[in-house]
Amino acid sequence: MKRTVAEINQRIKDGDVVVMTAEEVVSYVQSEGVERAAKEVDVVTTGTFGAMCSSGAFLNFGHSEPPIRMQRVTLNDVPAYAGLAAVDAYIGATELRQDGREEYGGAHVIEELVAGRAVRLRASSSGTDCYPRKEIDTYVSLNTMNQAYLFNPRNSYQNYASGTNSSERTLYTYMGKLLPNYGNITYSSAGQLSPLLNDPTLRTIGVGTRLFLGGGTGYVAWEGTQFKTNVETRFGVPMGGARSLATIGDMRGMSPEFIRAVALTGYGVSLAIGIGVPIPILDEEVMRSCAISDEQLFSPLVDYSVQSRNRRPIKHFSYAELRSGKVELFGREVRTSSLSSYLKARQVAETLAERIEGGEFLLTEPVAPLPADRGVGTLEVRSKEEAV
C-alpha cells in the first residue's frame, strides 16, 4: 500500500478523507491489523500540550509620529529584545517582569495578546536624525500590530525525562514541585499522542510541514535547538529527549485555550502550547509507527537533586505506568504527576482531525528534511583557541 500527500489532499478536497487520532489508531490497529488500517486511514493526527520554554514572539509595532528607533522595549513591564530594526522586537516566553517576581513574564504577555487584550508598550531610544523620538508609552494589541507571530526555537520535544528527588528538601524545578525522599515523580509528554513519537525518524515531518500551533496554523521552520538523533531506542522510539521542532505561526488565529502562560514556582515562567502534527499514512510502515501505545513508550527517570548535566537515569517507566498515577520505586509506591495535559493534547489532535475532515487544513510535503544524524554538544569553559 502506497499513498502520496497529493492523493490525501485530493481526498480532503473531495470530502472523503479518513482521519484518526494517534490515540484512536492504537486500538484500531490492534483489532484490524496494520495492513487494513493503513488502507483505511489517510491521516493520523497527533497532539501535545505542555510547557515549551524555548518560545517567543516577533512583533512589529508600526511607526509612531515622530518615529522612534526602539532600543529598550517593555510589554506590560516585561523586557523584549529590540536589537532589530526600529520597531521590531522579540519577546521570549521565560523573560520575567522587571520587578523580577516569578508570577508574570513574556508568556503572560503572549497569552494576553492571543486573548485579544491590549498590553502596555513602553520604549526608549537615544534618538537619531532619522528617528528623533526618545520615548513612547502606549498600548498595542493584535489589532494594532503589523506582524505578530510566534517563532519558537524548540517545541514538541521527542520524549523527555521524568523527574524525582532523592534529597531531604522539596525541589522547585522546571519539572514542577518534587517532594523529598522520592515523594513523587513528574513527567511531561503526551506519549502515544505526541507528534514526534508517532513518526520517530521524521519520515513525514520536515521544514515547511504545516501544523496546528496554539489553536492556529503554523509551520515547521527548522530543526529545534538541541535536536539529536543518537538516542537509545526501544520499539524504534527514542527513550529520552531527542528530536525537536522550531515552529512558526501567526498569533492571529491562536487561542488562549492552546496558548497558556504557566509559572513554575522557584523556576520561573514558561508557555504551554498546544501543537499537533498531521501524519500522512504513506505506507504501512508509517501506520505501524503511529500505532505505538503508551505501553511501548518509555521515559528515563532522573534525580533532580543531582545538580549536574550528567544525571544517569534511575530507571525507565512506560507512559502507561506513569499515567496510571503511581509506580513502584525502590519497593515503594510513588505517585506521579503530568506537567503536560493529556486532555488538551487530545483536544489538539481532535481539533486538527476536524479541520482536515472539514477541508480547512491541507497536508504538506516537507520542503527539506530535518537532520538524520545529529548529536548535541556541551558548553565548556574554553580558551579562544580551544573554541575553534
Binding site: L179, T186, V262, A263, T265, A272, S338, S341, Y342
Partner: protein, 134 residues
Amino acid sequence: MAKRKFLLGFSPDLVNEAIVYRLVKDYDLKINILRAEVREQGGRLLMEVEGKAGNIKEAVRYLNEARVEVQELATYVEKNEERCTHCGMCLSICPVEALTVERPSWRVRYDAERCIACGMCIDACPPGAMKFRL
C-alpha cells in the same frame, strides 16, 4: 449529622482558652484537628466538625461571642476552572487526594470536601488555577 470544616482565628489573649474542650463538652461535637498553629499574632485552628446541625450552629454562635474568628472551610482553596489545563501536576502533591483525575476524560477534579487546606497544590499548579480564598 452534619460535617463542616472551619478555620478558627484566635487573638493572643484567647490562646489559653480551652475552646475545643467547650465544643466537645457543651455542643457534643466530634472534632478532627487538621492543623493548629500559634504565632505572635495569635493562633489558627483548622478543623473538621461533626455533629447535629443545630449544635454546630450553636457552637458557631458561641465562638463568635468568644471573639474567635470563624471561617467556613469550603471556600478555603478554590480551583479556577478556566485557568486549569488539567495537566495533573497537583495529583501527586495533594496529600488527601482532593485532586483526582477522571478517566478516560483526563479531567482534573477538585473535591473541596476532602481538602484540608494544606496549600501544597497552590505553588505546584503551573497555570495558577489553585488559590487560597482568604
